[in-house]
Symmetry: C2
Subunit: 142 residues, 2 copies
């Protein structure tokens, strides 16, 4: 496992969760390529690392890893229900997604402060979070 991914085991243990083969398999699949994948596809790929892995466990694992911010949902990509590894340490992450291959680039500088402040002023909403997905085509797919 590369240095980049090293932190996840500690992250699980800190919270009282165990480091298991299914969890490792799912995470490794998502780390292997910077693309978003559906639970189904993750299952297919992760089974090559852990033969008996069930799809149910993939769902459960994704829910856990998402909660721990080790994995993130991608809405715009392949059919609105896919997942990608979280690679940055930023707490406010956004995604640039290739609509052809599903490649995901994370970024966090979004210059929305003024916009959000203005929204609050104008609507009276309290602003708690924002999610930005940018869709385009990566260099290879253009």
């Amino acid at each position: 496992m590369s240095a980049l991914t090293a932190g996840w085991e500690g992250r699980l243990k800190e919270q009282g969760y165990r480091v298991t083969k299914p969890r490792r398999a799912v995470l490794e699949v998502l780390w292997a390529e910077p693309i978003c994948l559906t639970p189904e596809e993750i299952h297919r790929r992760a089974r090559q690392r852990h033969r008996t892995l069930g799809l149910v466990t993939v769902y459960r694992t994704l829910a856990l890893l998402e909660q721990l911010s080790l994995v993130q949902r991608v809405h715009t990509g392949a059919g609105c229900h896919s997942f990608a590894a979280v690679r940055s340490n930023e707490s406010h992450r956004h995604q640039l997604i290739c609509r052809t291959c599903g490649r995901v680039e994370e970024f966090s500088d979004c210059e929305l402060d003024n916009t959000l402040h203005g929204l609050h002023e104008r609507t009276g909403f309290s602003i708690e979070a924002h999610h930005l997905e940018v869709v385009g085509r990566c260099p290879q797919c253009q």
Copy 2:
């Protein structure tokens, strides 16, 4: 039907679609309140306007209306699969969503030009679209 919603019939006919009771019922439900609703809930409400409306037709109608930009998907709201009316004429619409009641306020000024340009420069992606959802609480729900 209010002046605001008047355009939708023409919009359908232009494209060779028909103006039917089920379509009117779905659209009226979404126009009635500025909140996002699941297909199930839309069905429940729209049946009060058109008794025999089937859930299947709600799905079909939402797909059509979304394609015509009369209705928009909301990911952040109630469980990631809800819909709201499109109320503005802007082509680049974003949403401010109340996480308590599902209220949706549209906005279009997002000041992302620099960010998107920078993303293109940095990653080589061509940028085609972006989707922004802001989550908070509306004045009533605070």
